[in-house]
Structures are given as structure tokens and as C-alpha cells.
């Protein structure tokens, strides 16, 4: 059986499984559509939340970004796990006690203002749609690869599949499907990593192999990697290169953003009890950590494998020949990936070999002049292909490659579905039913939810045609927006009785606007190329890149809310009582629909 058929088989079988579960657990009422009837066990909920959370950015993109920069991208690892500490300690139990369906409902009630609820809906839509753009990038790459077509057409096909999939059910269908998706994606991620770790270090646990010994040379793996990449003129893998301030702010933005993303928070409304909300956050992180502890090993080992494939005789020997790339089965992955337009090479000096090195490095320029090289000949290597290509790069069996394709799609689909659910509930439940047409029937509310899902996909695809970065970087921008707008309002709503309606509205608007402005100034207005005034290589404010600005935006939000609340009318007594009751677990019944 050839690889193409094998991929189709794995992807097809996993899809049949998800659709089967979605049909079996189809949502009948609005309550089931949004919150799965609150009958979900913390461990089940944790697994589903992990699938919901780990998206194309975690699965497809993150290890590739770590592979090509090393230590500097550790922010993704710490940021996307550390946020769960904030979520578990500062938000989840209180929002569960409050007991409504959506994040904006809490903000609307706590700040006794429909304006606050509307502003929260807007913040949530901006962050979620940016997030969907990143998912669509990942879906496009995965479909492009396994159908062996251009990534653009992969994106179009992927958008149709995501739509068909998301409108099927609500949270209930999604919860059980996501448990299945978690199992598929974690198996797909760890199996190739275990194989590769065994090949390189003899240790079956990738996280330990990363700090183990490189079997072929007897040196520590990371020391060997440092030596190879510096030989090729690239920055040392384990060393810090960027600005420390930027790294701190970037990590903080990702953490706060995690705790401010509506589709993750919504999950904690679906557990039966307040104490379960606390455990559930822990279980979620257990399931996430399985992937996140493996990812840095995947990145480092792939970087080592690629460097050795391009320099099969060592960095002082001859580079790989064009003939080998075209005929040797070990290099077959390069030809398949070239079809997606995400990998490319060119024999610039016509010596029949492909020299891969950093042609911006002065030492290597001298070496190139000596050897007659005319620049780096591995001309294009999109970071987002690394994880999907990894089993092929390591020459693993065909079924592993098929499994990884299925896992990548599971990751992207589960998150896209969760986000679309958050978007549709914001539009139909908060905007339409909550404000504009309160007398809408349940049936029409579900219809509106599905129409808004379709609209969100169309917007994400249009904006995703010019993505502002690799998938994980696009997603990082979404986190910055959530960090600057939603998280501060939720936290102040629980931990302070002083912040009033005007303070919360002014804070959220200020945080959202400054962050969006900073992103557009660096990434282009609505991500349209060449409309940017600054670049992330030379940012407006010192070393602070657009992906790191969310933490500043959050600080602006807190400060503005505090000052405005101080100047306006005090919070009424019944709201202070509401805050007191949210802080105490006793009396948390089932949640009620506020409208």
C-alpha cells in the first residue's frame, strides 16, 4: 500500500470515529449545546479541554519554532502551561460558582451593565477569530500534505471540513468527540517521538532523551546539537539570544491569554461542582503536559536529524547531492513536501550538491567563498511542516506517518470546533438573545449559532490568506488580545468589589484597543501585507515585539479600570453581595440560564 492511501486510511478512519460520536451524542437543547448538561466528570472534562486547547499551534507548529530557535522559544512551553495555574487559582472555581453559560454573561452581571457584556462579546470575537486564523493555517498545511496539493487548496478544503464538523453538535457532541481526538492526537505525537528518541539516544522517554547522550557520538545530545548548528553558522541552540524583557513579557502574555480565552474558560462551566472545577484544571494540565514535555525533544531531535541529512558526511564533508535528494528513499519526504510549496531547494552554484548553512554569518561567508558556495541552497523550509514531516525525516514506517497526519488534523479540528462554539454562543446567546431579540425561540437561537459559525469561518479564511506569521505566532497574537481584554475584567470582577461598571468597560476597551493597534502597526492593518509601520525586528517600544504586547495591554486594562472606578459611582450593595457569594463554594447549584 502506498503512503498516500495509508494517509487517507488513517485520516478517514479517525474522521469516521469523530462523526460517529458526534451523531450519537447530538445536542438537543440549548443547555446541552452550550454546556453539555453539566454532567461531565473532571477527568473526562480535563481530557476534552486538553484536546480543545491543544491546537494546530501546539501540535503542528510549536516544535518547529523551538527546533529552529532553541531556548528562545521556551516561552511557548512555559506560557501555554503556566496559564493553567492562573486559571485554576484565579478564575475557574468562581466562574463555576457563578453558574452561567458564557464569559460575557458573568461580565455583564458582575458589572451590572449590558454595555460591559457587549464589550466583552466584542473582545471575545476579536481574540477568537484571530485564533481561528492560526488554526486554519494548520488545517491548510495538514490537508495540503496528505492530499499532496498546494497549501492554499488545503486551506479551502479544510475550511469546508471544519464547517461541516462544527455545526454537527454543540458542547455535548464536542466533549465526547474531543476525548477521542485527544487520544488520537497524543498517540500521534508521542509514538514518532519515542521512535526518534530511541534511534538517537536509546532512551524511550523523549523528555529524558533530550537531556541524554547522543548514541552515535557519545556526547550529550544538546552539546552535539549546539556544535552542529554553530558549525553551520546558526545561533547556539541552548543559549539565550533575544531580549530578556521581551521573553518575560511574551511568556506572561501567553499565560494571561490562556486564562482569558473563552473556549477554555467555558469548559469549567461544564463540571458538576466547584471543587471539580479546581481538579479539572489540574487534570487538563496533566493531559497537556504529556505533549508539552515531549515537544522540546521533538524539536531538538528533528533539528539534529535535518542537519545530518543535509550534511551526511559531517559538517566538514560534502553536502548532500541533488541526485540523492531526487532518488534516495531517505530523502523522498523532500519531494512530497515540495508539492505543498512549503519546502524548496535550489543548486545555486551548480555543483550538484545542496549546501545548507547560514549565509548571513561572516565566518560561513568566508568558508563559502573558499568552497565556491553561492548562498544557502535549502531556500525554503516552513517551520510549520516540521512536526508533520518528522516521521518521514527519521525514516519511520508508513503507518506512523499516516497516524501523524490524523493527529495534526484532530488537533486543528478540535480547537477550531471549540472556538466556533464560543463564537456562536457569543453571537446567538449574548448578542441576539441577551440584547437584540430577547424573545427568540430556542430553535432560532440554534440556527443563529450555526449561521455565526459559518460567518466566522469565512472571515478567518479571508484574513488567513495573508497570515501574520507561522501558525503558533498567529495564535500567540490571539492570546495577547485575550490577555489584554478578558482576563483583567474577570479577575477584577472576582477579587475586587471596588471596580464598577464604567471602570470595567473603560479598562477592557483600553486594553483591547492599544493591543490591537500595536499588532496592526507591526503586522499590517487587518494583516494586509505592507500596511505596517514597524516590524518585529525593530519594534516601536524598545525590545517589545507585537506578540509580547498582551502583557502591557493587560496592565493598561488594570490601571484604567482602577482609575476610572475611583472617579465614578461606587459599586451597589447587591453587586458586592454577588461578589461575596461567588467567593464561597456553598450553594453552587446547577447553573441557570439568565434569560
Amino acid at each position: 500500500m502506498d503512503q498516500f492511501t495509508l494517509n487517507l486510511l488513517f485520516v478517514g478512519a479517525s474522521f469516521a470515529l469523530y462523526i460517529g460520536i458526534a451523531v450519537w451524542a447530538r445536542a438537543g437543547s440549548t443547555s446541552e449545546f452550550y454546556a453539555a448538561g453539566r454532567g461531565v466528570h473532571p477527568v473526562t472534562n480535563g481530557m476534552a479541554t486538553a484536546a480543545d486547547w491543544m491546537s494546530a499551534a501546539s501540535f503542528i507548529s510549536m516544535a518547529g519554532l523551538i527546533a529552529f530557535t532553541g531556548y528562545d522559544n521556551s516561552s511557548f512551553l512555559m506560557g501555554w502551561t503556566g496559564g493553567y495555574v492562573l486559571l485554576a487559582l484565579l478564575l475557574a472555581p468562581y466562574l463555576r460558582k457563578f453558574g452561567k453559560f458564557t464569559v460575557s454573561e458573568f461580565i455583564g452581571d458582575r458589572f451590572y451593565s449590558s454595555t460591559a457584556r457587549m464589550v466583552a462579546v466584542i473582545c471575545l470575537l476579536v481574540a477568537s477569530i484571530t485564533y481561528v486564523i492560526g488554526q486554519m493555517q494548520g488545517v491548510g498545511i495538514a490537508f495540503g500534505r496528505f492530499l499532496e496539493i498546494d497549501a492554499f487548496w488545503g486551506l479551502m478544503i479544510g475550511a469546508c471540513v471544519v464547517f461541516a464538523y462544527a455545526v454537527f453538535g454543540g458542547m455535548k457532541g464536542v466533549t465526547y468527540t474531543q476525548v477521542a481526538q485527544y487520544c488520537v492526537l497524543i498517540t500521534a505525537y508521542t509514538i514518532p517521538a519515542i521512535f526518534i528518541s530511541l534511534q538517537l539516544t536509546g532512551n524511550p522517554i523523549p523528555a529524558l532523551g533530550l537531556f541524554g547522550e547522543h548514541a552515535a557520538s557519545g556526547e550529550p545530545l544538546l552539546a552535539k546539537l549546539d556544535q552542529i548548528v554553530t558549525d553551520l553558522g546558526f545561533a547556539e541552540y541552548t543559549a539565550a539570544h533575544g531580549s530578556t524583557i521581551n521573553m518575560v513579557l511574551f511568556t506572561l502574555s501567553l499565560m494571561i491569554g490562556t486564562a482569558g480565552l473563552p473556549h477554555v474558560i467555558m469548559r469549567f462551566f461544564t463540571v458538576p461542582r466547584v471543587s471539580d472545577a479546581r481538579w479539572s484544571a489540574g487534570w487538563t494540565l496533566v493531559f497537556i503536559a504529556l505533549l508539552y514535555l515531549t515537544a522540546p525533544a521533538v524539536g531538538a531531535m528533528a533539528r539534529l536529524n535535518i542537519s545530518e541529512l543535509m550534511w551526511p558526511n559531517g559538517t566538514d564533508g560534502e553536502a548532500v547531492s541533488v541526485e540523492a535528494i531526487e532518488t534516495d528513499p531517505e530523502y523522498a519526504w523532500m519531494a512530497t513536501w515540495e508539492k505543498t510549496g512549503l519546502l524548496g531547494w535550489e543548486d545555486k552554484n551548480g555543483d550538484g550538491r545542496i549546501q545548507y548553512y547560514n549565509d548571513a554569518n561572516a565566518d560561513l561567508q568566508a568558508k563559502a567563498a573558499e568552497n565556491g558556495w553561492e548562498g544557502n541552497e535549502l531556500t525554503n523550509f516552513n517551520r510549520d511542516i516540521l512536526v508533520l514531516a518528522n516521521p518521514e525525516i527519521a525514516s519511520l514506517p508508513g503507518w506512523v506517518i499516516g497516524l501523524v497526519a490524523a493527529g495534526g488534523l484532530a488537533a486543528a479540528l478540535s480547537t477550531a470546533a471549540g472556538l466556533l462554539l464560543a463564537i456562536s454562543s457569543a453571537v446567538s446567546h449574548d448578542l441576539l438573545k441577551g440584547q437584540l431579540t430577547p424573545n427568540m425561540s430556542e430553535k432560532n437561537e440554534l440556527l443563529a449559532a450555526r449561521i455565526s459559525m459559518a460567518a466566522a469561518i469565512v472571515v478567518a479564511v479571508i484574513l488567513g490568506l495573508n497570515p501574520p506569521g507561522f501558525a503558533a505566532q498567529t495564535v500567540a497574537l490571539a492570546f495577547g488580545l485575550a490577555a489584554a481584554s478578558i482576563f483583567p475584567a474577570l479577575m477584577m470582577g472576582i477579587f475586587s468589589t471596588r471596580i464598577n461598571n464604567s471602570g470595567a468597560v473603560a479598562g477592557m476597551l483600553a486594553g483591547l484597543i492599544v493591543t490591537l493597534l500595536y499588532i496592526f502597526l507591526h503586522k499590517g492593518w487587518f494583516f494586509i501585507p505592507d500596511t505596517n509601520s514597524f516590524t518585529d525586528a525593530d519594534p516601536l517600544l524598545g525590545p517589545i515585539k507585537s506578540t509580547s504586547f498582551g502583557a502591557i495591554g493587560a496592565a493598561v486594562n488594570f490601571a484604567v479600570a482602577y482609575v476610572v472606578s475611583g472617579m465614578t459611582k461606587e459599586t451597589p450593595q447587591e453587586i458586592k453581595d454577588l461578589v461575596q457569594s461567588v467567593r464561597i463554594p456553598r450553594g453552587a447549584g446547577g447553573a441557570v440560564d439568565g434569560h
Binding site: Y71, S74, L77, M78, T81, G82, Y84, V85, A88, L89, L90, P93, A207, L210, F211, G212, E213, E219, P220, L221, L222, A223, K224, L225, D226, T238, A240, T244, M247, V248, T251, L252, R273, V274, S275, R278, W279, A281, G282, L285, V286, A289, Y292, L293, P296, F495, Q580, R583, I584, P585, R586, G587, A588
Partner: protein, 86 residues
Amino acid sequence: MSQDNDNNAYWSANVRLILISLVIWALVSFGFGIVLRPLLAGISVGGADLGFWFAQQGSILVFLALIFFYAWRMNKLDREHGVEEE
């Protein structure tokens, strides 16, 4: 009014626990993983240094321990102050 006083005591015990947890949270990630990494450069862990290990492995493990510790401690605190769910 005694229930109110007890609720206040419960809340301040909770806030104290949150603060301690967040100090540890920041120390392992922003501290050991980023800012204090040069200070830990002398301690080597398999081809890299302790700061690198914290940035790519250790902080995640500590986050896990923190969340479970907090959940366990709070559920106990709920019972001590009689505010647990019926």
C-alpha cells in the same frame, strides 16, 4: 454575623494561599527559566544547564504540582470553614 466573619477568614486564607502559589509559579518560570538563568549556569543538566531544563521541562512539572496542591488545600479549607458544597 459569625458566618460573615468566618467567610472573611476563609477568603483571606484563600488569598494567602494564592499569593504563595503565585510566588512559586513566577520563581520557576520567569525566575529560574529566564531572568535567573545566568545564576544557575554552573549546574549542568545533560548537555545544557539547569535554567534550560526549567524553561523546557521543570516549570511545567512545578505548575502541575501547584494546581493539585491548591485544589487539595482548598477543598480542605472549604470543610474547615464549613463552606463546602452540600
